[in-house]
Amino acid sequence: MIESYIPILLIIGIAVIFGVVSINLSWLLGPQRPYREKHSTYESGVDPVSTAHYRFSVKYYMVALSFIVFDIEVVFMYPWAVQFRELGWTGFVVMSVFIVVLAVGFIYELKKGALQWD
């Protein structure tokens, strides 16, 4: 019973070693020319100054929301892709219906300006 876990331990060990080595290796080998921008937490993001209750724009929320919804919908395409041949044209028609429904949602979102940044 215990023996069967040895490969898992081995993998954990390798993962830890790989992580430690690769991070330190890049630190050793890479050129170090720091400047202020480079030291900021998110180099091309929002400056994380002020309190943790910082109010950020609701636009981020719109992006996150679209992401969750469309991300999850893709889940339904994987089974179809795996069984593509077996399902044949019926599967194709059914998935087309699904994609049309998604597209309607997407057009609605686009036209309502939910994806416009300014």
Binding site: V58, I72, V75
Partner: protein, 100 residues
């Protein structure tokens, strides 16, 4: 192979943790996360039964639960934002205009 009971007990514990969280926490976001925990424990139940019975219906059901949970998250967080803009709070004890 891990026996099915273990999965079922784990998912029941997760489910009850979620229920207790919903009933005791006062922050709307945390309550919502507890509800997500409940739904995920249900996913675990379905996957465990599906593997045990050797039948794919359970896994299919999990996809639908995930999709529904995503839709619920989108709508729920929007409602929380609308409420926050009106009240500057998401504590459900402060949300108490409607009383008899």
């Amino acid at each position: 192979m891990v026996p099915i009971h273990y999965y079922l007990i784990l998912s029941a514990v997760m489910f009850i943790t979620g229920v207790v969280g919903v009933l005791t926490r006062r922050n709307a976001i945390i309550i919502f996360m507890c509800i997500e925990l409940m739904l995920n424990s249900v996913n675990l139940t379905f996957v465990a039964f599906s593997a045990y019975l050797g039948n794919e219906t359970g896994q299919m059901f999990v996809f639908f639960i995930m999709a529904v949970a995503a839709a619920e998250a989108a709508v729920g967080l929007a409602i929380v934002i609308a409420l926050f803009r009106n009240r500057q709070t998401v504590n459900i004890n402060d949300v108490n205009i409607l009383r008899w």
